[in-house]
């Protein structure tokens, strides 16, 4: 089965510019996650979707970050305007999300490495 796809893989922007990341989860996975991983740290959840609805966005800096999951499949994460501290790897993950053991397993994409200068 195809894995989680993300693009672009790398992005370099200047502060105050905008950037968007795209994610295509594994087919049939109801739950989609966006994580931010700063170098040397573990992934930090930004937003969690169940189908096309937001379940948790408590750690999403909503003044500059936005995300959507149209039709419950693909998702985009946008940063506008970017700050230096946004430099990180942005990981997308998906899971079956059915409330049973195997469904908790998250499948991660390769990530997008963002550098803000």
């Amino acid at each position: 089965e195809a894995g989680v796809a993300q693009s672009p893989r790398y992005k370099i922007i200047e502060k105050r510019q905008s950037v968007a990341f795209w994610c295509n989860p594994i087919s049939g996975h109801a739950t989609l996650y966006w994580y931010q991983q700063i170098l040397g740290q573990g992934p930090k959840l930004l937003i969690q979707f169940q189908n096309n609805g937001v379940v948790d966005d408590s750690q999403l800096p909503k003044d500059r970050f936005s995300a959507e999951r149209l039709k419950g499949v693909d998702s985009t994460l946008k940063i506008q305007p970017a700050k230096l501290e946004d430099s990180a790897v942005y990981l997308c993950a998906s899971s079956l999300g059915l409330g049973r053991d195997k469904s908790y397993e998250q499948y991660f994409g390769p990530g997008t490495r963002l550098t803000v200068t």
Partner: protein, 112 residues
Amino acid sequence: SQQGEEDPQALSIQEGENATMNCSYKTSINNLQWYRQNSGRGLVHLILIRSNEREKHSGRLRVTLDTSKKSSSLLITASRAADTASYFCATGDLYNFNKFYFGSGTKLNVKP
């Protein structure tokens, strides 16, 4: 914060030795997972243990969970150079079963 904390932060062993890393967390959980991250394959799920389980095995991996101490350990037996990676525990939120908090990871280096 419910985020788990791994210990040690870094571990260096010889091939063939066993590696043990620990995870501590602060609030009650639904389940706990361990993930591995290396540059070649990204973040990969290793094993899940539910809050009512005490031990689980998968190949060379053994995970224990002590909910009274709010801690878990991951043992990798007969380590290989290919096990070199960062290992993260992810604790499952008690009320949002699909929400997980990742720790800061243990960086394991297995020397050939």
